[in-house]
Symmetry: none
Subunit: 217 residues, 4 copies
């Protein structure tokens, strides 16, 4: 419905860049607290300690804030993926997975509703262009990580596997952050997520809690 999605003004000055960051952080807090509709731009400005006008100087409309938040999230995820990828040689797929799950859970637990919102409300927003662009980064890193471990992976179609794995990953992490199953230890939860991911990718994953075999007689 609205057209522009990118910041009106690319912040060149250090001061502006700082301002933009301040606004994005404020938006994160506000959207996390109230959801997309509950959030309002004046509140974002207030929390950022600037005037509404300044918000609109850099973000042409409310949706642009969400887009920015999404990009922020993607940058975050890419950073994590890169770190794990850097250590990929030294890490088994399971180790890499568990590390990713653990790190992601931390991220999602700081702003659980925001993450859900990004996942759910963004697709409704227009301008798939920008979204896809940013998301592609995550897609690419993930695919790259999987490729690195292709020896262990049984799924023949790597693109499809990336797609499936990313969806599972995000959803399970969201769920664990927002509505964790009652009475489950955090480690068990992380383990379950990893199991699910590796079960699909390698089929060799399974309950390894009790290293012993035969969990069931």
């Amino acid at each position: 419905m609205k057209s522009p999605q990118k910041p009106r003004k690319e912040p060149r000055q250090a001061r502006s860049r700082f301002l933009v960051e301040t606004i994005v952080e404020a938006a994160a807090r506000v959207f996390d607290a109230h959801g997309y509709d509950g959030a309002n731009t004046n509140e974002v400005a207030r929390v950022a300690g600037v005037s509404v006008g300044s918000v609109y100087q850099y973000f042409p409309n409310k949706d642009a804030l969400v887009t920015a938040l999404h990009e922020r999230h993607v940058r975050h995820m890419v950073r994590i993926l890169d770190q794990v990828d850097a250590a990929a040689g030294a890490l088994s797929l399971r180790e890499a997975t568990e590390r990713l799950v653990a790190r992601s859970l931390e991220v999602h637990r700081t702003e659980p509703r925001l993450q859900r919102l990004l996942h759910a409300d963004l697709p409704t927003l227009e301008q798939q262009r920008a979204l896809s662009e940013a998301s592609r980064a995550v897609l690419d890193r993930t695919r790259q990580l999987l490729a690195r471990h292709s020896a262990e992976i049984v799924q023949p179609d790597l693109d499809l596997a990336t797609y499936v794995v990313l969806r599972m990953f995000e959803e399970l992490v969201h769920a664990a952050a927002l509505d964790p199953p009652p009475g489950v230890e955090d480690e068990a939860l992380r383990r379950a997520i990893s199991d699910a991911l590796l079960g699909y990718l390698t089929r060799a994953a399974g309950p390894t809690r009790a290293g012993s075999p035969a969990d069931r007689p």
Copy 2:
């Protein structure tokens, strides 16, 4: 934000029950078309062919409509689960899974945005009570179905497994309905979803595309 969540008035009369159903169906159409905020109660009333007042007679506020929609969805899923469960003796876990995936995809493809909305916006709504109650039904049936196949299932904690499986299931079906990966055949997609679910549950599932036997010696 608001407090009451349950219909003000349980419709005892047949006429009322019909009215309520009409309103819920209208709500389904409107929410699917416009999303939570985009939808408005006056439009729901218009589509239902009743007055706003009548909508408020049975649904104390906008959120109550979403709750009702959620219950409708749960009823739908339960029906599907029951059908599969009824045939459980005759079906292998893989067969049951594939049937569930296929049926669910149909459902989600008729009202994709609504499903996403229910998944995403509902948790934001208050009154977890009603939600959990309805959702528990799905949880229970799923657990029951898994229990019926416990011989094949490697996950020791059935509650946790149910939790994980349900999340994966819903998310993958949503994703497949709303943003399917490009260039993937429908059957391959359904297969991938089943693989993911069974990979976690049984560890024995894997790519069976290449019909080759003995995935494992």
Copy 3:
């Protein structure tokens, strides 16, 4: 820019009709007092003694109020034209003209700025359709009046003459109402307007102040 121009809801009930009239009258006062931009819809509602929502129930946007005001003005002018036209047999063209000028001046003096606004800002508004439609009524009556006196009229192209006469008429009346020339008696002013109109139409009109004979052989 906006699309709808006509009231959203044709007021069928007597109460609604009254409400619409109340709002239009309030709009007249507010627009006359503050001009198009200076006026604001909340103020219109306040003056009308209703809520903004009610204004928007009948007028989809600010412009629709101006359109309604224009229609009100046109109805007014048509009424005056009809009255004069009814007596046309008994009136000379000069008498008819002077009566029209006198009546119009009264109208314009009650809401001078509004009249100016209608004349000036309306064309900027979109939806020429509705405007032309309403305006055509005035055009038609005027042409009809001129036709009735065609014997005295020297202009060969009646459509062009109607166009020219209407413009002169409106402008001179506006001017006389809003910025009258200093030190000129009201009657002299009315006379001057009539002279201008008749000078164009009949060439026989002229200053009859000094009853002097034969202004030109």
Copy 4:
């Protein structure tokens, strides 16, 4: 509403004078394109290639721009009037009139909305002082031109005649530029305007389309 109307600073320096002119030209373009409210000072600055601050250096507020535009227009009209006046001895009143009409039409056709705006919105602006002052120049030249032809003019009150003639003139030219009657040749239109003016001034003017009888003995 606001008080100051005159430039804060009379531009003495050549550079400043140039700057002021640049801004006024930009304002002309912007106001013509968007109308009074649609225009905004930042856009004017942008089009002028200067900063908003610079605009405010010379024009204390938005209205001051309109006032300046009015003065620009008046200067333009005065120039035209002077040219015709210079040739007054050699020109009949009809010739002078037709020349004025033709020249004015050219002017109004370059910036039709701006002209309308000046005519319509200016009176709403405060500070009649400055306006009248500038307008007086046009008034004076026109009166002077009429005086030069007093022999042919039948209207006894020259001030009133000037007033009436100016209003007719401006309105008919505006109308011809903005909403010309359909299907009328440009020359016929110019002729009609001249006829109207001369009909009032001399009563001897009339349709001369059919060149038939001597329009003047």
